[in-house]
Amino acid sequence: MAVCPVCDAEVELGVDAEQGELIECPECGTELEVTGVDPFELSEAPQEEEDWGE
């Protein structure tokens, strides 16, 4: 179990989760990168921004 750095939701990780793996937060949908496995740590992966009205 780890905590989403964006929305603070608990994110379940498989026992075989690996460093560098990309997962999605089930609550806020943010793409997250596993940056540590012992203990599990998550960071926000780069996101594409949407820009209308140019």
């Binding site: 964006v6 929305c7 603070d8 939701a9 806020c28 949908g29 793409e31 996101q47």
Partner: protein, 349 residues
């Protein structure tokens, strides 16, 4: 609860909210619809007016004068009619869910100020529970009389409630703008609803002075704060989207706001937090809620100020009218809150 079905009648069954109530109650596992009234259409099949119900019921509209005793009455009447005939309705049913604005305000003076006339039955105001079950669940369970909330009010209140309740935002400059579909205007046509006039329009129908601000203020914080509200009708049939601009007293991060909303709504069956980083539906979108009883709530913190934008969406005929009324009905009768309201919506739509 025994297997005996609860008998329900709908007064004013020919309008849009009445039609939605018929649709919901026909499929409700604990309800038998006894009557639906319409003075204009008495004697006519209800499916002539609500053609989606064709094949599901042979019910015909009755006149209000033919109303028989039942367990619960749903009142879907124009402004002022519920309160005018409330004694008659209370004789017919032990429990009443009124979808009009007649009994929503606790304070008769506020009613007079916003509706332009004294309340005809002020002594009854305190007996009606305001019908947003998320705010008044325990009272609703005990209630005999519920005054179901307005559609714009429901979306606005549920969007802002955690912030006001926790005293996290400035109390004098919250601004909410509702974008609404044409069904909010009801089933009776008028000059503004004629197709060449209505189609394609973006009409600021209440930039200020919307009457339902009174119930928003009542539920959010009372007389001592200001809520500035505007409403614009768009070229859609169902749905209301409220965009509220609130100003935080403290520099909360988005993660803190997530925690706040999760704390209030995490266990709510009909309020969902919708805030995603990517995809087509990152924030609440009323289109996805058509026919459902959900209120979706999302937010975004402005990066350069203390402004927090809260976005909330509903189907105005469901969570803003018939669905919310059935939700209250379920609570009043000790039934699962979601009975008859499980439809998840359509996609694409």
């Amino acid at each position: 609860m025994s297997d005996k079905r609860i008998t329900a009648s709908i007064v004013g069954g020919a309008g849009f909210a009445g039609g939605e109530l018929l649709r919901l109650l026909l499929f409700h596992p604990n309800v038998e619809i006894k009557q639906a009234t319409s003075e204009r259409l008495a004697g006519k099949f209800v499916h002539k007016t609500h053609p989606n119900l064709r094949g599901w019921t042979k019910l015909k509209f009755s006149s209000r004068s033919e109303l028989e005793p039942c367990d619960v009455l749903f009142l879907c009447l124009p402004h002022g009619e519920s309160s005018k005939d409330v004694d008659f309705f209370m004789e017919k049913a032990e429990r009443i869910v009124d979808l009009s604005a007649d009994f929503r305000l606790n304070d008769a003076d506020e009613y007079a100020r916003h509706y332009g006339a004294p309340h005809p039955r002020p002594e009854l105001l305190e007996r009606f529970v305001y019908g947003v079950p998320e705010l008044h669940r325990d009272e609703t369970r005990e209630a005999k009389l519920v005054s179901s909330a307005g559609c714009n009010a429901t979306a606005t209140i549920l969007g802002l409630y955690p912030l006001f309740r926790e005293g996290l935002i400035e109390t004098d400059r919250t601004v909410a703008e509702a974008k609404v579909g044409s069904s909010e205007g009801g089933a009776t046509p008028n000059d503004h609803s004629h197709h060449p006039i209505r189609s394609g329009s973006v009409r600021s129908y209440a930039p200020a002075g919307h009457r339902h601000v009174a119930e928003m203020r009542q539920e959010l914080g009372g007389k001592n704060f200001a809520l500035h509200f505007s409403a614009t009708s768009l070229d859609m049939i169902r749905g209301a989207l409220v965009t509220a601009h609130a100003f935080l007293k403290e520099p909360l991060e988005e993660k803190d706001v997530w925690k706040l909303y999760r704390n209030y709504y995490g266990d709510e069956p009909f309020v969902r937090i919708v805030k995603e980083r990517d995809g087509a539906y990152r924030l609440p979108e009323p289109k996805l809620l058509a026919g459902t009883n959900f209120c979706d709530v999302g937010f975004q913190r402005a990066p350069d100020s203390n402004r927090l934008v809260v976005v909330s969406a509903i189907d105005n005929l469901m969570k803003g009218a018939a669905g919310q009324a059935v939700q209250a009905f379920n609570l009043m009768h000790g039934l699962p809150e979601t009975s008859g309201l499980e439809f998840p919506g359509l996609h694409p739509v």
